[in-house]
């Protein structure tokens, strides 16, 4: 009976993820994106379209701001009013940051977006009723809503195009929210394989579509719990802590840190699972 269960496990139910001890058991999927390597070529974005059955909305809907790119490459110029961008542009691959304390999760009225055991910010399409509160509360605005019923919209997946759709990924219908899943279908497959072999997924065994495509290997993805994984090493070396209690310790020291790792909107304390590495520019030229 629910009440007795509640009383028995009270302390467990009061455990606050992720700031309390041991937020993750076996897996914590995380990413590191090196902005110095990223060339802004868009390969990741297209790969995402291919892997995750993203609809191509066409010019008119793109104009209306209804595009569905889970992975978007943002391009920034220097703001200092220089005549020419003589240090190039800055590219920012922006995808769902899979926050550990995700603002989107708490506000969903039906619990369609939740936190999974391996640290993903899951989105349950079947459960979503389309209140769009999650998107409203997302600081990064990386959630994308199905404003139309794309599967039945002209020239989204006409004729043979449907055969390209990835059977591992749902094709979302009208009125549900969707977003980057860290290619959860690949993660699940890898985990199942590992489980049948009675081991954990080892580093590099599973890649996200964007990571796999990236020609400059700017994207590192893996399990943060496993200290030897590439991503864990990167985070460790950059001294970026997943659930930094208040701010990252390294930013406290005076003069700031000379490491490149940072997370966007650290101050909002959503604890993103994506670490970015600052873009570097040569001072000698």
């Amino acid at each position: 009976m629910s009440v007795s269960n509640m009383l028995e496990n009270w302390s467990k139910f009061r455990h606050m993820h992720p700031v309390d001890d041991k937020p993750h058991e076996e897996y914590k999927w995380a990413m590191a994106i090196d902005l110095d390597a990223c060339s802004g070529c868009n390969a990741c974005s297209v790969a995402c379209y291919a892997e995750n059955n993203l609809p191509v909305v066409g010019k008119q809907k793109f104009d209306a701001g209804q595009q569905m790119h889970w992975m978007r490459i943002e391009r920034y110029w220097d703001d200092d009013g220089r005549e020419f961008p003589d240090q190039g542009a800055q590219f920012m691959p922006m995808l769902c940051q899979q926050c550990e304390a995700a603002p989107c999760e708490t506000v969903c009225p039906v619990g369609a977006t939740n936190h999974t055991a391996d640290g993903l910010n899951s989105q349950v399409y079947n459960r979503c009723i389309g209140s769009r509160y999650c998107s409203a509360n997302c600081p990064f605005k990386v959630r994308y809503f199905n404003w139309y019923d794309y599967p039945t919209t002209d020239n989204v997946w006409p004729a043979e195009m449907t055969q390209q759709l990835n059977p591992d990924v749902t094709v979302r219908g009208k009125g549900v929210m969707e977003k980057c899943t860290f290619c959860v279908q690949r993660l699940e497959r890898a985990k199942n394989n590992a489980r049948t072999e009675g081991r954990l997924v080892h580093d590099g065994e599973v890649q996200t579509a964007c990571q796999q495509a990236c020609p400059t290997s700017a994207i590192t993805f893996g399990n943060l719990v496993e200290p030897e994984s590439k991503v864990a090493k990167k985070w460790a070396h950059q001294q970026v802590e997943l659930a930094a209690k208040d701010v990252q310790a390294k930013d406290e020291q005076e003069g700031g840190s000379d490491l490149r790792g940072y997370r966007i909107f650290e101050e909002l304390r959503a604890y993103p699972s994506v670490m970015y590495l600052e873009r570097v520019r040569e001072s000698a030229i």
Binding site: K61, A64, G65, Q66, Q67, E74, M92, M94, P103, T106, V107, C108, P109, V110, G111, R127, C128, I129, G130, S131, R132, Y133, S135, A136, N137, P139, F140, K141, R143, Y144, F145, N146, W147, Y148, D149, K174, G175, V176, M177, F265, L268, A270
Partner: protein
């Protein structure tokens, strides 16, 4: 100063007048009804279209995921608070002038809540799945997310709606009995017979009636406050700049009472004419509401200022940017309009002559509500167009006719329900007007007697 109501009104006349309103209103009534119906038609059409094609036709987008629907939803919720104010708060304060007008105010509460409820539905991307938000037991132990302010909303609105309906009904039982007794046989009579639950005005009934009415009133006041605080927390609980403001709940409540009172003035004027209630909805009463409204307007203005100030003097750059955006960006005209309607227009109500000038007050009340609607819009949209993430700042998103159509239609829907109610049920509480008249005449006799006594005493003194 003239009287709120004539003590010498025959009780029979009270019955007569009110009952007449159920049968022969002025022709304008039918005009209003037809207009309302067609407005509702428009809204319904838009909704059907949107339901078929998808929310995209409302031209919402990322980041502008919410639009006029939510804004108007808050507007209607706010509207509902006046009824409670009049029937509950003023009841506890024994302000008997509320008696002739509280019934329609309560009706307004009920129906604007129903309208607000509609907007929750209209807003959903998958309307057909709305029941996922209802906490019903399922074999999969799937429950809604009780942490979501939206769910609190649903809960609060349900509580508020059902409580006000009950409150409205209970308060109406004696009047229903009157209708039962004095209407010619017909479907109406049998309806009232059922609804009046066999009320006969026995002392026992009256005793419990009083207790109940009082208790429910006591519940309704905190409820009303909580409802709009919760609506406020839809925003205040979020992380978005311009929403994450501590003073939102009181701000919203004030706004709610404000628009509610304004709406009461509007409907006061309409009903007074349409149902020939000049005897009961008297100018002095109008004057009292106007003054009340003005007071609340000032409270709202203050809280408005508090919000701006707290944002301005905080070091939250993002929120500040949103505020500046409101005052200077594309929303500026509406934002200034809101401040004008909300904080400047009410000063018209300070001018004594105009307080009882029906056309002016009518116009003013409409302006106030325009202002309050804009306020809600200005809370919702600018934050989206200028959130945390600059790459997603969006200045050319604009609501389509579908959105406007549904908002427009909601007013039709409300009017339809409201006017329908007034035609079907006594929109002036007969028994309470009687009480009002009764107690006032007693008081009057009393004072007269005292005067008389004093006079004789003086005379005697003089004789000596």
């Amino acid at each position: 100063m003239e009287k709120d109501i004539r003590e010498s009104i025959e009780w029979a006349k009270i019955n007569g007048d009110v009952l007449k309103s159920l049968e022969s209103p002025r022709p304008l009534f039918w005009v209003i009804l037809v207009i309302a119906l067609s407005m509702f038609g428009v809204g319904l059409g838009c909704e059907i279209y949107q339901y078929q094609i998808g929310m995209g036709v409302a031209n919402l987008n990322n980041p502008q995921v919410w639009g006029l629907y939510i804004a108007t939803f808050i507007f209607w919720i706010g509207m509902s608070h006046s009824g409670t104010l009049l029937s509950a708060i003023l009841h506890l304060m024994h302000a008997d002038w509320r008696k002739p007008i509280y019934r329609f105010a309560e009706a307004m509460t009920t129906f604007s809540l129903m309208t607000a409820g509609l907007f929750v539905m209209v807003h959903l991307g998958r309307l057909w799945q709305f029941y996922y938000a209802i906490p019903y037991p399922s074999e999969r132990w799937v429950w809604p997310n009780f942490q979501s302010p939206l769910l609190w909303d649903a809960m609060a609105i349900f509580t508020y709606l059902s409580s006000s309906v009950i409150f409205l009904f209970i308060g109406m039982i004696p009047d229903l009995a009157i209708c039962r007794d004095h209407l010619h046989p017909g479907w109406r009579k049998s309806l009232y017979t059922v609804l009046s639950l066999g009320w006969e005005g026995t002392d026992r009934q009256w005793r419990n009636f009083r207790m109940t009415y009082l208790t429910v009133a006591c519940f309704l006041i905190p409820l009303a406050v909580s409802v709009h605080s919760i609506v406020a927390s839809d925003f205040a609980m979020s992380q978005q700049p311009g929403w994450h403001v501590t003073s939102f709940p009181p701000y919203f409540v004030a706004g709610a009472l404000y628009s509610g009172c304004a709406a009461i003035i509007t409907l006061f004027v309409i009903l007074r004419y349409v149902f020939k209630f000049e005897e009961y909805m008297t100018l002095p009463i109008l004057k009292k509401i106007v003054r009340l409204t003005f007071a609340i307007a000032m409270v709202w203005t203050y809280l408005n200022a508090v919000e701006f100030a707290s944002v301005w003097y905080s070091h939250d750059e993002a929120s500040k940017a949103v505020l500046i955006q409101k005052a200077t960006g594309i929303y500026a005209p509406f934002w200034w309009m809101m401040n004008f309607c909300g904080s400047v227009v009410p000063f018209v109500m300070m001018i004594k002559r105009l307080q009882t000038n029906i056309p002016v007050m009518f116009a003013v009340s409409l302006l106030l509500n325009l202002g309050m609607w804009l306020e809600r819009w200005m809370i919702v949209s600018p934050t989206f167009s200028h959130g945390y993430y600059p790459y997603l700042w969006d200045n050319n998103q604009w609501p389509t006719l579908v959105q406007w159509g549904i908002v427009f239609g909601s007013f039709g829907w409300f009017t339809l329900l409201f006017m329908g109610f007034c035609k079907l049920f006594p929109s002036v509480s007969m028994y309470e007007v009687k009480e009002m008249v009764y107690h006032r005449s007693l008081a009057l006799k009393h004072t007269e007697r005292n005067l008389a006594v004093n006079a004789t005493e003086l005379a005697e003194k003089g004789a000596h």
